[in-house]
C-alpha cells in the first residue's frame, strides 16, 4: 500500500480518518490519481463525495473512497470556494458517473468534461443555482417553482417507439420514471429518472447528535434498516474509539443475517412469483417473508429489524426464549423456501424465462461499480463481510456465493446460496454466542469515521464527519445508488415484457438512493 502510494507521489498525510489511509492531492491531479488507482492497481471506487468546508478553510472538499485489500483509502482534494471545478473522473472511471452528477447538483461543484452533465437529483422544478447540501442553504427554504429542462435520451428512426413508464406505477411501489426506446418489443435504450421523493436526510442529519440521528438512518431504506443502522453505528464507534462487546457484535450479526434472509426470501418469491407469473411462489414466498417479519416484531418490537442496533452495542439483550424462537423460525422458513425454490427450478418453463434474461456482463458490472448479488452473479468476487470484516464475521463460517452467467437466474441462485450461508452463520452464532453486557458508552466528539456493511443488497458505506459531538456531514451510500445505472446496461436487447423481471431480480431501493 505505502509503496503504491509513494509511486503515485501520495502519502498518508494525516490520521484524521479512523481506520483508513488518507491522502491529499491537488485538484489538478485528482482525476489522474483516481484513474491510476482504479485502472492500474485495480482498486474499486466505492464512493465519491463532497463536503462543504468553506467555513473552515474557504474550500469544498472532494473525497474518493477506494477499497484496498481490507483497508479504505481516502483520496481528498480541495476546490476553491469561488470556482469549484475539477477534471471529471467519469471520463476514465465510469463508476464515478452518478457521484459526480450528485455533487454537481448538491454542492455546485463542476466536473469539467463530464460526458453527461445533466441534472440527477434536482428535477425541473428546482431553480438554477440551488445546491441544497451547501451549508448556507437552510433545510426549510421555500423555493420558487422553476422550469429547467431535464432532457431524456431519444432514439429516432423508423418504427422506434418511446414508452414512458411511471413515476406512478400500477403496483404499490415507490416513484420512478423509466423511458424505453423500443423497436417492436426489443429495447434499444432504457433510462431511468429517479429522485422524485427526496427526503433530505443528509441535510437533516447535520447538527444532530447520535440518538436523534439514528431514527433517520433506520428509515433511509425500510428493507435494510438493520444494515443502515449498523453501518452508521460502526462509523460513530470508530470516531469514539469504543469497542463493542462481543455479545453485542454477535447479536448485530444475527440481526443483519435475519434481515438478509427476510429479503432474499421476498426476492425469490417476488421474482419468480410475480415476475414471470408463477403465482404459487409469490403466495408462499410472501407467507414465509411474513413469518420473518413477525419474528422481527417479536424480537425488535417492529416488523423491520429496527431499533436494536444502537451506537455502543445493542438496545437490549436477547433472552434464551428469543433465541429459541429464532432457531425454530429460521429452520422451518428455510426448509419451506428451499422446497419452493427447488419446485420452481424443476419447471422448464420457469427456467426458460429466467435464463439469458437481463444479462449483466462482467466487464459492465466492473465498470459501473456494481455491488451485492448483482455483481457476484456476474462473476465479481466482492463481499464486504470477507473483504472488510466487521461485527462477528471474522469468526463465522462465510462463503462468498458466486455465479458467472450474470442473468436473472444467476442472481436468483446467488440469493438462494446466500440464504443457506445466512442460516449457517446464524446457527453458528446461536451455538457459540458470547456472554456479557451488550452495551458500552459511545460518545464520539470530533473526527471522521468510515464503515462498510454488506447489506442484503450489497456494499453499504457510511462516512461520518462529526464536530463537537454533532454530525457535520453524514454520507450514506446505499448499494442501490451503485446499481441503478445498471439498468441502462441490462435492459437493452431484452423485450419489454421481460423488463419487470430484470427489475425484480435487482430489487433496488428508490428511498435508499433518494436520501
Amino acid at each position: 500500500m505505502n509503496t503504491m502510494l509513494a509511486n503515485l507521489g501520495l502519502h498518508d498525510t494525516d490520521h484524521s480518518i479512523t481506520g483508513a489511509i488518507h491522502a491529499r492531492v491537488e485538484s489538478a491531479r485528482f482525476a489522474t490519481t483516481i484513474t491510476t488507482l482504479v485502472q492500474t492497481h485495480g482498486l474499486p471506487l466505492s464512493l465519491l463525495y463532497a463536503t462543504d468546508e468553506r467555513a473552515v478553510n474557504g474550500s469544498y472538499g472532494l473525497h474518493a473512497v477506494l477499497a484496498h485489500n481490507d483497508e479504505w483509502l481516502f483520496v481528498s482534494t480541495s476546490l476553491p470556494e469561488q470556482d469549484p471545478r475539477y477534471d471529471s473522473v467519469t471520463r476514465t472511471v465510469l463508476a464515478a458517473h452518478w457521484y459526480e452528477r450528485y455533487a454537481m447538483d448538491m454542492f455546485g461543484i463542476v466536473a469539467e468534461g463530464h460526458p453527461d452533465p445533466r441534472r440527477l437529483v434536482l428535477h425541473e422544478n428546482f431553480p438554477e443555482g440551488t445546491h441544497p447540501l451547501r451549508k448556507d442553504f437552510a433545510w426549510n427554504s421555500r423555493l420558487p417553482h422553476a422550469h429547467v429542462p431535464y432532457p431524456m435520451h431519444h432514439v429516432n428512426g423508423e418504427g422506434v417507439y418511446e414508452i414512458p413508464v411511471g413515476p406512478i406505477h400500477a403496483g404499490i411501489i415507490e416513484p420512478g420514471h423509466f423511458r424505453f426506446n423500443v423497436a417492436g418489443e426489443r429495447i434499444i435504450t432504457l433510462e431511468g429518472k429517479l429522485f422524485f421523493t427526496h427526503k433530505g436526510c443528509e441535510k437533516l442529519l447535520e447538527g444532530k447528535d447520535l440518538p436523534s440521528a439514528l431514527p433517520f438512518i433506520e428509515r433511509v431504506s425500510g428493507d435494510a434498516a438493520a444494515s443502515h443502522a449498523l453501518a452508521f453505528c460502526q462509523a460513530a464507534e470508530a470516531i469514539a474509539d469504543c469497542t463493542v462487546t462481543s455479545r453485542a457484535r454477535d447479536l448485530r450479526t444475527i440481526l443483519c443475517e435475519l434481515e438478509r434472509m427476510t429479503m432474499h426470501i421476498f426476492d425469490i418469491g417476488n421474482t419468480i412469483g410475480n415476475g414471470i407469473g408463477y403465482t404459487v411462489l409469490a403466495a408462499h414466498g410472501f407467507r414465509l417473508k411474513e413469518d420473518m417479519m413477525r419474528l422481527s416484531q417479536l424480537i425488535c418490537g417492529n416488523r423491520f429489524w429496527r431499533g436494536m442496533i444502537v451506537p455502543g452495542g445493542c438496545a437490549r439483550d436477547l433472552q434464551e426464549h428469543d433465541l429459541d424462537t429464532i432457531r425454530s423460525t429460521i429452520g422451518h422458513v428455510y426448509a419451506d423456501t428451499c422446497h419452493l425454490f427447488d419446485m420452481a427450478m424443476s419447471s422448464d418453463a420457469v427456467r426458460e424465462r429466467l435464463e439469458t434474461t437481463g444479462i449483466l456482463r462482467t466487464d459492465a458490472a466492473l465498470a459501473y461499480g456494481a455491488v451485492g448479488p448483482a455483481a457476484r452473479a456476474s462473476g465479481i468476487d466482492r463481499d464486504v463481510r470477507r473483504d472488510h470484516p466487521y461485527a462477528s464475521y471474522p469468526n463465522c463460517p462465510l462463503r462468498v456465493s458466486m455465479q458467472t452467467d450474470g442473468d436473472v437466474l444467476a442472481r436468483l441462485l446467488v440469493r438462494r446460496e446466500e440464504l443457506s450461508g445466512s442460516l449457517a452463520i446464524i446457527r453458528h452464532l446461536l451455538k457459540t454466542l458470547s456472554h456479557g453486557p451488550v452495551s458500552t458508552p459511545c460518545t464520539p466528539n470530533t473526527g471522521v469515521g468510515v464503515s462498510a456493511v454488506e447489506s442484503w443488497r450489497g456494499e453499504l458505506i457510511d462516512v461520518l464527519h462529526m464536530k463537537d459531538g454533532v454530525i457535520d456531514r453524514c454520507v450514506i451510500r446505499d448499494p442501490s445508488f451503485c446499481n441503478w445505472p445498471l439498468f441502462g446496461e441490462i435492459g437493452p436487447g431484452n423485450i419489454v415484457p421481460d423488463f419487470p423481471l430484470c427489475n425484480k431480480s435487482l430489487n433496488l431501493s428508490y428511498s435508499g438512493t433518494d436520501l
Binding site: I276, A282, A349
Partner: protein
C-alpha cells in the same frame, strides 16, 4: 330456436358470466394457499364500476366510446346464438362457425382500436401485441371448427354437437381438434400461458393494457365482455365433450332446470381446470407466443386433415 329458448339461454348465460370469473379467482386462490374472495364478488365489482364516474382522456374520439358497446355486443351475440344451453340451432344459421369467428374478430379489432385511440404508450403496446396474437389465433380457430364441420356435415355449431360426447370416440381426429380448441380458448380469453389476467405489471399486459384507459361503466362493460367470452368458450367446449343435458325448442320446466344446473356444474369444472393450469405454469415469454400459436395451428390442421381422410 324458438324465441323463448333463445331468451332463456341468453339471460342465464349473461347472469352466470361474472360467477365463472369469480370461480376461477377463488380456485386459483385456494390452490395457492390463500383463502380467496367469494365467487360472487365480480357482481359487486360490476355494480360498483357502473356507478363510478368515468375519467376520459381529451385525446379520444368516438371510437373509444363505441368500443365497449361493440365488444360487449359481440360477446352477447355469441352467448345467445351458440348452443350453450339449447341444442336448437339459432335462427338463420347465425351460429355458423365463420360468423362466430368473424364476430370474435370484430370484437378484437374494436378492442385494439380502443386501445390505440387515446394515444397512450401502454394502449398502443397492448394493441400491437393483441394484433400479433389475433392474426395467429384466428386461422387456428377456423381450422378447428372446419374439422368439426367436415365430420358432422354441418357448418353451424349447433349441428356440430351431433358429433360431440360419445360420438367423439367414433371420430378420434376430432379429439385432436378439441385440443386445438382448448389452446385457442386460452389465447382468445387472454389467459395463461399467453396473458396474465391478474398482473399489475403494465409492461407485460396484453388485454389489460388495451383497457387501461377505460374507467367506470365502460370498464365494467369491457370486463363483463371478457367474463362472458370466457363463459361462452367454457360452455361450448363442455358441450362438445358432454352435449347433455341441453333443452330443445320444446321447453319444459324440468329440462330447463336440469340444463341450467348442469351448465353451472360444467362452468365450475372448467374454471377449476383453468385454475389448476394457471397455478402450475408460469406465463410464457412473449416471443415464444408464435411457437405456441403455430403449434396450436398445426394441431388444428392435423385434426382437419385426419377428418378428411376416409377411415373405412
Amino acid at each position: 330456436m324458438s324465441l323463448s329458448a333463445f331468451l332463456i339461454q341468453g339471460i342465464v348465460v349473461l347472469l352466470l358470466a361474472p360467477f365463472s370469473t369469480g370461480c376461477a379467482r377463488l380456485f386459483k386462490a385456494r390452490l395457492q394457499g390463500r383463502s380467496g374472495a367469494s365467487p360472487f364478488l365480480p357482481y359487486v365489482r360490476f355494480a360498483t364500476l357502473l356507478r363510478k364516474e368515468m375519467v376520459i382522456a381529451n385525446t379520444t374520439s368516438w371510437v373509444f366510446h363505441v368500443t365497449p358497446i361493440v365488444v360487449v355486443s359481440t360477446s352477447v351475440f355469441a352467448a345467445t346464438s351458440l348452443p350453450l344451453l339449447s341444442d336448437a340451432g339459432a335462427p338463420g344459421g347465425l351460429d355458423n362457425f365463420i360468423v362466430f369467428s368473424a364476430i370474435l374478430a370484430l370484437g378484437s379489432v374494436f378492442l385494439v382500436l380502443g386501445g390505440l385511440d387515446p394515444g397512450t404508450a401502454f394502449g398502443g403496446m397492448g394493441s400491437s401485441r393483441e394484433m400479433t396474437l389475433a392474426s395467429l389465433v384466428e386461422p387456428a380457430m377456423i381450422t378447428t371448427f372446419a374439422a368439426f364441420a367436415v365430420v358432422s356435415g354441418h357448418s353451424d355449431i349447433s349441428g356440430m354437437l351431433n358429433v360431440g360426447g360419445a360420438a367423439l370416440l367414433q371420430y378420434p381426429s376430432l379429439i385432436i381438434s378439441l385440443v386445438a380448441l382448448g389452446l385457442c380458448t386460452l389465447a382468445e380469453n387472454a389467459r395463461y400461458p399467453v396473458d396474465n389476467p391478474a398482473t399489475h405489471l403494465e409492461l407485460t399486459m396484453v388485454h389489460e393494457a388495451m383497457i387501461l384507459e377505460y374507467s367506470g361503466a365502460s370498464l365494467a362493460l369491457l370486463e363483463y365482455a371478457s367474463s362472458l367470452r370466457l363463459t361462452v368458450f367454457s360452455l361450448l367446449i363442455a358441450n362438445i365433450v358432454v352435449p347433455l343435458p341441453l333443452f330443445s325448442a320444446a321447453l319444459s320446466l324440468p329440462s330447463v332446470s336440469v340444463t341450467i344446473a348442469a351448465a353451472i356444474v360444467k362452468l365450475v369444472v372448467a374454471m377449476l381446470l383453468l385454475a389448476i393450469l394457471e397455478s402450475s405454469i408460469p406465463k410464457m415469454r412473449f416471443y415464444r407466443m408464435q411457437e405456441y400459436l403455430s403449434v396450436t395451428y398445426f394441431i388444428a390442421l392435423a385434426g382437419l386433415v385426419f377428418s378428411l381422410i376416409p377411415l373405412s
